[in-house]
């Protein structure tokens, strides 16, 4: 396990460097002078410009600037937003909200996806299975912002089941509707993954042995079939986290959730380049870390991975 952990940690280094380099490179090639953009129509004194360029290392070659940027990231410094607030402060305020939203969404999609997938898999070819497949196909086809607006219009405005936008402090009951919308994207994937995994596990020898020992279905289904079918679902959570981050950007924008996603959404809408870049960088780092953790968890769950 230790060896595997070490290997995964080593593997993540080039990816981390490459990803930050790509992002930095894209921003570096942004047209326009960042210093000139700091001032309005009235150009400042040339000395000021020179001093600022010196301060922000803008006179150094590209690669040196990149290392300053990288050093900043590793010291937890993501720069300041367009309005001059340190990104870290904004993050401290918005991150807990997004985490609550994401956990709620993961909770919904896991409960619904696994139960639908399990029943579909156990009763392959039945009416429930066919309906489940149809519904998941429709849900996959609905872009998240379409789903968000439809849910907001009907459940929020027309029927009044939920508050259509999230109030101050983001109370958890307000987060239910955005979390449900966020959960639907991955619900379809999780239910299908569980279904095919259950069908595959059902045919394995140890399940047949369990039946021939005389164990009841009540024990075989949760302990033998479900537990062994969940491994691919756990790994899917890693990929899913990326979807969740993009989804959160749109859902938080629609439902006005004061989280990381909405901050990015508003920065994008207003064209605040540097803020966009800081938050995308943070999301990518988060995505990498979560995927690393899930890979490690996967190795704990399935020993074959460690020794492969």
């Amino acid at each position: 396990m230790l060896w595997y952990t070490g290997k995964r940690l080593l593997q993540i280094i080039p990816v981390l460097l490459g990803a930050t380099f790509l992002i930095y490179f894209m921003v570096f090639s942004m047209p326009g002078d960042p210093i000139a953009a700091l001032f309005g129509d009235r150009p400042p004194a040339p000395g000021v410009i020179e001093q600022l360029r010196e301060q922000y290392h803008l006179n150094e070659p590209f690669i040196v600037q990149y290392f300053y940027y990288l050093a900043g990231i590793f010291q937890g410094d993501f720069g300041v937003t367009y309005s001059g607030q340190p990104v870290n402060e904004v993050l401290a305020r918005t991150f807990p909200v997004t985490i609550r939203l994401a956990l709620l969404a993961i909770f919904f999609e896991m409960i619904a996806g696994i139960s639908v997938g399990l029943i579909s898999g156990l009763r392959k070819g039945g009416i429930f299975d066919a309906t489940g497949l149809g519904v998941s196909l429709v849900l996959i086809s609905l872009p998240i912002f379409v789903l968000g607006f439809v849910a907001q219009y009907f459940m929020g405005i027309q029927w009044g089941w939920f508050s259509p936008t999230v109030g101050a402090g983001a109370p958890t009951q307000d987060l239910i509707l955005p979390a449900l919308v966020l959960a639907t994207i991955s619900f379809a994937q999780i239910s299908r993954l569980t279904r095919s995994s259950v069908i595959e596990t059902q045919g394995l020898d140890f399940v047949r042995t369990a039946y021939s020992k005389g164990l009841s279905g009540k024990r075989i289904v949760p302990v033998h079939i479900l537990r062994n079918s969940l491994i691919p679902v756990v790994t899917y959570l890693g990929t899913d986290f990326g979807t969740l981050l993009v989804g959160a950007t749109v859902t938080e924008g629609i439902f006005n959730v004061p989280g990381v996603g909405r901050t990015l959404y508003q920065a994008v809408i207003r064209g605040e380049g540097p803020t966009v870049v800081s938050f995308v960088t943070i999301m990518v780092l988060l995505y990498l870390i979560v995927n690393l953790l899930i890979d490690l968890l996967y190795a704990v769950l399935d020993p074959r991975i460690r020794y492969a």
């Binding site: 990803a19 086809s141 993009v246 064209g271």
Partner: protein, 319 residues
């Protein structure tokens, strides 16, 4: 010590007399029947599935609308907009009513089809090309080639492609067009395809027909493109269909966020974004482009699903 007497006991299980099943009959290869392969089997399977015909028909209709928008509406999408008609109800000649700017909703939907399809197709070609090149070389040559190509893929894979496209489109704010947005989506979307092809090639490259080709002196490069890739391409075709749908969603999402296409290019995502401000008072302006977008995505995903079922024997067994 085995008991000698037991071998003299009569054998209880049945052995067919040799005259009944001729060994030649078992060993012979049927030559009179039609030859079959993965693609012929898949086509036979597809033909019998209504979902295949429904999705193909939908896609054909959408392609037709995209190619000849003039046949479906006489109304120009951007001109003839009267603010007096803002969010107006349907009237004769304007079956779906008017947008906030007083433009014809139906006309904007018809003219938006081309944009969505173009982005989808360009991104798919890009993703397919990059994915096949990276995946094929990485899987077939292995060793350090694989090491480098797979790490490059990992780097691009580590940035969710819509987030990457957001950054690219923010950087290229002054150069937004169908081509630029397609590049922005495609350049980060290919690693998934490459990974699938790579693992498929790892499975195929040790097959007997590869050894046979090597034995008769075909070069490694030629074996890769003439024998290995054609035999590993099936799952990539499935991904390509689904990624076409993904690209259409990505374009709409970027346009919705305001970093997609400029407003003078018709785009369902743009129209949905503009209609969101009047969601409470005029939901129909938002609903119709949303239906068009979802239906298009749905057709491609449905096609991808049936093609996957037809090409993947494992999926067929699970039906």
């Amino acid at each position: 010590m085995p008991d000698q007497s037991s071998s003299k006991l009569p054998i209880e299980h049945y052995v067919a007399p040799l005259e009944e099943t001729k060994l030649e009959a078992i060993d012979s290869v049927k030559t009179e029947g039609k030859p079959s392969n993965l693609w012929i089997d898949a086509w036979a399977d597809l033909r019998r599935r209504p979902m295949f015909w429904i999705s193909s028909a939908l896609i054909l209709i959408i392609v037709f609308i995209a190619l000849f928008p003039g046949l479906f509406t006489n109304e120009p999408p951007n001109a003839n907009c009267l603010l007096a008609n803002s969010n107006g109800a349907p009237v004769a000649g304007h079956p779906l009513g008017f947008t906030r700017q007083g433009c014809d909703v139906w006309s904007r939907i018809v003219h938006g089809a081309g944009t969505s399809l173009s982005v989808g197709i360009i991104v798919t070609i890009l993703v397919f090309t990059l994915g096949v090149i990276f995946g094929a070389f990485a899987g077939y040559y292995g060793g350090w080639t694989d090491g480098i190509l797979s790490r490059v893929g990992d780097i691009f894979f580590s940035i969710p492609y819509i987030l990457a496209a957001v950054v690219i489109m923010t950087v290229l704010a002054n150069y937004r067009s169908v081509w630029v947005i397609s590049l922005a989506i495609g350049i980060f979307a290919w690693p998934a395809t490459a990974r699938v092809l790579r693992s498929e090639i790892l499975r195929v490259k040790n097959s007997d027909f590869v050894t046979a080709a090597t034995a008769i002196g075909v070069s490694r490069f030629k074996i890769l493109w003439a024998h290995v890739v054609p035999n590993s391409i099936a799952p990539v075709i499935v991904i390509a269909t689904i990624s076409l749908a993904g690209a259409i969603v990505a374009e709409a999402t970027l346009s919705f966020l305001g970093v997609g296409l400029p407003t003078n290019i018709m785009s369902w995502g743009n129209d949905i974004a503009q209609a969101q401000t009047t969601l409470r008072t005029a939901p129909q302006v938002l609903i119709y482009p949303s239906i068009a977008l979802s239906l298009t995505v749905f057709s491609f995903i449905m096609l991808g699903e049936v093609v996957r079922d037809a090409l993947d024997p494992k999926a067929r067994a699970q039906r």
